[in-house]
C-alpha cells in the first residue's frame, strides 16, 4: 500500500552508493552491487525501488545516471531547501557546518537564539535572530525546514512559532514530547535513546 518511511530513508543510502560507483566510471549497476555498496541485501534494494516505479532492465541492471536522477527527484533533492537552525549552541553550530547538508542542497538561511550576545552575528551567510523573529524571518527567507537544537524545555515554544509561520517539516534534536498539527511532519533524533541500547547491551555481558 503506502511506501514505508524507512524505504524512503534508504534511498539516500542508495544515492550515496551510486555516487561512489559513478566515480568509478560504471554505467550500470545491479541490485547486487548496490547492495554490497550500501550494506543492504539485493532483494531489499529492489523492493525499495519498486515502491516508486520500475527503473531497471532485466539482465542488465540499473543505469547509474538514470537511477541517480530518479532518486534525487523522488527525495526532492533536485532543488535547494531553505533551512533554519534554532539554537546557536554547540549542536546548532555542528549542524550549520555539517558538510552532508550542503551536498544535499540545504541552505542555512537563518539561525535563531535568545542569547543577546549571539543575536546580530552571522554564521556564514546566515544571521542570528531572536526567536520572536521566527514568524517574520521564516516567511521572508522562505524557510521550509526547521531544525530544532534548543534545550528540551524551550522546544515546544519555538516549534509553535514555526508552525504559526507555516512550517511543515521539522527535524528535532530536543529530547522532549512535542505536540504538532497532523499536517506537519517531524523526525526526532534522540541521542539518549541511541546510547541506552549500548549501555544495556554492555550491562548484559559482564
Amino acid at each position: 500500500m503506502g511506501v514505508p518511511e524507512i524505504s524512503i530513508s534508504r534511498l539516500s543510502l542508495y544515492l550515496r552508493g551510486l555516487k561512489a560507483v559513478s566515480e568509478g566510471g560504471n554505467q550500470t549497476i545491479s541490485s547486487y552491487q548496490l547492495a554490497k555498496e550500501t550494506g543492504m541485501k539485493p532483494d531489499k534494494v529492489r523492493k525499495d525501488l519498486s515502491y516508486f516505479g520500475q527503473f531497471g532492465r532485466r539482465g542488465i541492471g540499473y543505469s547509474v545516471n538514470e537511477l541517480t536522477d530518479t532518486i534525487t527527484r523522488i527525495l526532492g533533492l533536485n532543488k535547494q531547501w531553505n533551512v533554519a537552525i534554532c539554537g546557536a549552541g554547540n549542536l546548532g553550530s555542528a549542524l550549520a557546518t555539517y558538510k552532508g547538508f550542503a551536498k544535499m542542497g540545504f541552505k542555512t538561511a537563518a539561525v535563531f537564539d535568545n542569547d543577546p550576545k549571539k543575536i546580530g552575528k552571522s554564521w556564514g551567510k546566515a544571521k542570528i535572530f531572536h526567536p520572536k523573529q521566527i514568524p517574520r524571518v521564516t516567511k521572508q527567507k522562505k524557510i521550509e525546514i526547521a531544525i530544532i537544537a534548543v534545550p528540551a524545555d524551550a522546544a515546544q515554544s519555538v516549534i509553535d512559532k514555526f508552525i504559526r509561520a507555516g512550517i511543515k517539516a521539522i527535524l528535532n534534536f530536543a529530547p522532549a514530547k512535542l505536540s504538532l498539527p497532523k499536517d506537519v511532519k517531524s523526525r526526532n533524533v534522540d541521542l539518549s535513546m541511541e546510547l541506552v541500547n549500548l549501555t544495556h547491551f554492555l550491562s548484559l555481558t559482564e
Copy 2:
C-alpha cells in the same frame, strides 16, 4: 521472545517522564499518566515494561522511585561509562558538551583527532590524542563506548583501532557502511536519512 530493541530505547523515555513526575512530588504513577508524559499509549508502556518483569501494583500503578531505579538498572545507567569521542570537529565538540550525556552518567575520558593543532589540548578533563593512540588510551582509560564523529572515509579505520582495543559498543555518526564483528554492537545516526524523509514529504505536497 527477545526484547525489541525499540522497547529498550523507550525505557529512556520513561525514565525522563518519571523524573518529571517525581519532581512534581508523586509517589506512584499509572501507565496512563506515564504514557501521557511521554507521548506513548498506556498499552505500550505496560508491554515495554513487561519484557523485563512485573513492576506495578494492580489498582495502584507503579512506584515512581522503584520504577526509576529498576529502569536505571536495566539500562545499565547505575554506573559511570567511560566514553571516547573520535573526531574533534564541530559535531564532536557538540557531543562532548551535550548535557544529556553527563546526566546519564557518561564521562568523556578521551578525544581523538588527527589534526596536529588539536592534539595535546584538552576538552574539559579529556585530552585530545592522535588516533594511533587509540589502542593504548582505550585500555588505559578503560573506555567502553566509542563515539565516531569523523568524516565517512575515516570511519572504518578508526573503528578498526577501537575493535582491536576491545571496544564492544559504538555510536556512529559517520555516513558510511561499516564492517564490525558480530559481538560488537553499534548504533548509527545518519542525519541525511532523517532529512530526506522531510524533503520527500514536502515535495509531495506542492
